[in-house]
């Protein structure tokens, strides 16, 4: 080791070159790399999706959220509203009263109003002079 400090070291002492392999070795390395790269390249080659599909894909989470929000809002509004007036279970059906020949019920049925015939009678009487 008496050579000048800036001379290269004797070649015999240096580690082997990393790029001195046979061409077949390099060919195998390229082929291995291409196999590993194939899925990524295939992904890049994928056909661009139509604009509407891309839009749907982009907006799908927001659309889902919007639909869910609308459903919840409908439920809340429905629960908040007062219950609608319904015919009581104990009321006589108009058809039964008609069958008995009740005049008020007959008149009321002409008006095509399927409600309590007793209530109809009260209304008719109050409106009759």
């Amino acid at each position: 080791m008496n050579e000048k400090s800036n001379d290269p070291l004797p070649e015999e002492l240096l580690p082997p070159s990393a790029i001195g392999d046979e061409p077949t070795v390099w060919e195998n390395r390229v082929q291995n790399l291409m196999s590993a790269a194939a899925p990524i390249l295939a992904e890049y080659r994928r056909e661009p999706v139509p604009w509407w599909a891309a839009l749907a894909e982009r907006w799908q989470p927001r659309l889902t959220f919007a639909v869910a929000a609308a459903a919840v809002l409908t439920l809340v509004v429905h629960l908040a509203l007062p219950p609608r007036a319904e015919q009581h279970d104990s009321s006589l059906p108009l058809a039964t009263v008609l069958g008995a020949g009740d005049d008020a019920a007959t008149l009321w049925s002409v008006a095509n109003n399927e409600v309590d015939p007793v209530l109809a009678l009260v209304i008719l009487e109050s409106e009759t002079p």
């Binding site: 004797p10 390395r29 590993a36």
Partner: protein, 188 residues
Amino acid sequence: MSKPEFTDSDLAARVQAGDNKAFELLARKYMRPVYAVIASFLSGQEDIDDSAQETFLRALEKIHSYNPKRPFAPWLYQVARNVARNRWKYLKRRNHEELEEVREEAHGDDPGKLVELSELRSRVAEAIEALPERQRTAFRLHDVEGFKATEIAQMLGVNDGTVRANVHHARRELRKRLAPYKIDRDFL
């Protein structure tokens, strides 16, 4: 009619669109230099092979971040250096205790003794390993792999003068470290 010549940037732009052939051309062109860059950080063949493949795959995954208006080679070498440096750090952490034992054994040797060529080679390899990163990479690429200073400058993203200076310092440091050993010239 001559074949159309594609620049690296053209090929990289085609790789961005998923062109297999363009990627293969870049891989064939840069496989050796990438191996050389990685070998300046790592010594195990398996580690070098894995890191070289990882370099190209990582470059492929990040190809959309590459600007085709800029030179391709420095961008790729930067990826290679990052991959190799990370692997080197990982191996260093993993083998820390093992390396310490090796160093202790080395300190126990008599430096003045006559050493065989194979033993001296391993001392040189250890001394190269111990060089600062810039000196080590410049030395390996220049003196071991045979690249020119201008090529190395491009690989490492520095100027030619810096490469020459690093090679000079590395040689001087290696001679200093190996000076105590006498070589049995019969082996040379």
